[in-house]
């Protein structure tokens, strides 16, 4: 049986990169959605949640068009910054960030909305800025929501297929992820190799979620106790 660790490593590399980027983007975005009084907020909320309902191929298709060198954005990136997004790891990252955005933003948003306003106000009265309040008071108290966002975004990126196939293609070592490799091996009738990749993904996903629910059970219990 022929097999290659590359697709698996690439998958986890992608999931890790995407999760870090999403966390950095997701916290401010969730904060804005949770607390802004902008009357067009619901439009942003709709856009963030679009990947939940759209077929992944639709997002992949639009990204492919937008970033192709024949179109403005792709042309601009390639001629001025020398970056080619389509069929590259960068493309995978961009596609995955967009596609997993709601999985990071929505739990954090819910955590922020449920956070007692009295505690935020207490911090402001003590002279602390919104940023310091977020960093030292809010985030440490919504760890379960942060953990949910991180795990869901990570696990969801591992499980992606449609978006990454559309924008990344199937270049070994560059864009061939485990999910795509499985599809590939099945097409080539290499059921053993496909089965191995599939099993690794199942076991790892199961373990991640298992640890997550185990930890969350403890944090949920302790947050209930403090009520």
């Amino acid at each position: 049986m022929h097999y290659d660790l590359q697709p698996l490593l690439l998958t986890f590399q992608l999931a890790l990169t995407v999760t870090i980027i999403l966390f950095i983007l997701g916290v401010p975005l969730a904060y804005w959605i949770a607390f802004s009084r902008n009357r067009f907020k619901y439009i942003v909320e709709t856009l963030v949640s679009m990947p939940l309902v759209l077929p992944p191929t639709v997002i992949g298709f639009y990204l492919l068009i937008a970033f192709s060198p024949q179109h403005f954005l792709g042309h601009f990136l390639e001629s001025f910054l020398g970056v080619r997004v389509v069929f590259s790891f960068t493309g995978l990252v961009i596609g995955s960030v967009l596609f997993s955005l709601p999985f990071m933003v929505n739990p954090i948003k819910a955590g922020l909305q449920n956070f007692p306003i009295a505690l935020m106000e207490a911090s402001y009265c003590l002279g602390k800025s919104p940023w310091e309040t977020l960093r030292r008071v809010i985030l440490p108290n919504i760890k379960p929501a942060l953990l949910t966002g991180i795990v869901m975004a990570f696990a969801h990126t591992i499980g992606e297929f449609g978006v990454v196939l559309m924008i990344g293609g199937n270049i070994p070592g560059e864009t061939r992820l485990a999910s795509i490799a499985i599809y590939n091996e099945v097409e080539a009738l290499n059921y053993d190799t496909a089965g191995l990749y599939a099993l690794v993904l199942v076991v790892i996903s199961f373990c991640i979620l298992l640890v997550f629910y185990y930890l969350n059970r403890k944090t949920l219990d302790s947050s209930l106790r403090s009520e």
Binding site: A118, E121, A122, Y124, L126
Partner: protein
């Protein structure tokens, strides 16, 4: 000196109401805001703290303008430096008691005073606990210390004792008096507990449907002064019981429950919940060593 003049629309279950305030508070004064719930007491404190904005008005504290609707001045909460203590617990659950106090410290050099506060306020031994291990009274005590450590210019107490049992409440009232005498900080207490207002404040403003209806010392406001009795207490009827020709009233006076007899004329117009003055001529009192 605190100068307050503002108007704010309030949405109450009874419909919309205007909170219209125009009053001055001297520096270092301990005043109480007394009134039914929904009268606008909490809104008053929130406006002063900068947590809510009035529609129009002017707020000045110690010569600094905090709010002026005409000049579009609205000093951010962070720069107003108010110590705000509400009835709900506002300690940060992720921090220990000591960390909660350190968080409030404006200057690292003041960390030494934290230890001092911990000892004087009877929190020794609790400083490394998380807030959820503390009783309601202890939490409010920490909240009080935390507010004071941030060196506020004004202390706002929004019924901080209303969720506590009577023992913890009396205890904390004494602590508040102690702290006030030590710091002489301008303090505004919101309360609907008569005995608390009497015990703590020098001046009281009665607020009703968004308007100040009475002000003065607690004695002037709540006790009718044209009686000749030497002993008088203000109390509230909790039960009226008719026993033969006598009426027996059960009253709460301060934190005590007392039974007194009353004639039919005296109880005319009174019902459970009425506030009454009980007075006695002092020609034959019993005096016992306490």
């Amino acid at each position: 000196m605190v100068k307050l003049r503002f108007k704010k629309q309030m949405h109450t279950p009874q419909g919309n109401d205007w909170l219209g305030i125009d009053l001055n508070i001297s520096k270092g004064e301990f005043i109480a805001l007394f009134g039914e719930s929904g009268a606008g007491k909490t809104t008053f404190l929130r406006i002063l703290a900068g947590l809510t904005q009035p529609q129009e008005g002017y707020i000045e504290v110690d010569g600094e303008v905090w709010f002026d609707s005409r000049k579009k001045i609205n000093l951010p909460i962070q720069q107003r430096r108010v110590g705000f203590i509400s009835q709900e617990n506002s300690l940060f659950p992720n921090m220990t008691i000591r960390e909660n106090l350190e968080y409030a410290c404006v200057d690292k050099k003041l960390h030494g005073s934290i230890e001092e506060w911990i000892v004087t306020m009877g929190l020794k031994g609790l400083e490394d606990q998380k807030p959820d291990k503390l009783s309601g009274g202890q939490k409010q005590r920490v909240a009080l210390v935390r507010a004071l450590i941030s060196q506020p210019r004004i202390l706002l107490l929004d019924e901080p004792l209303s969720d506590l049992d009577i023992h913890a409440r009396l205890n904390l009232q004494d602590e508040i008096i102690k702290v006030y005498q030590k710091t002489k900080i301008t303090t505004i207490l919101v309360s609907h507990d008569l005995s608390e207002v009497f015990k703590l404040s020098q001046k009281v403003f009665v607020i009703d449907h968004g308007k100040i209806t009475k002000s003065g010392s607690p004695q002037e406001v709540f006790v009718n002064n044209n009686l000749s009795g030497k002993f008088k207490f203000t109390g509230q009827i909790i039960e009226i019981h008719k026993d033969g020709v006598l009426n027996i009233l059960t009253l709460t006076i301060g934190n005590h429950v007392a039974k007194v007899v009353a004639s039919d004329e005296e109880i005319a117009g009174l019902s459970v919940g009425s506030k009454v003055i009980v007075a006695a001529k002092a020609f034959n009192p019993l005096i016992l060593k306490a």
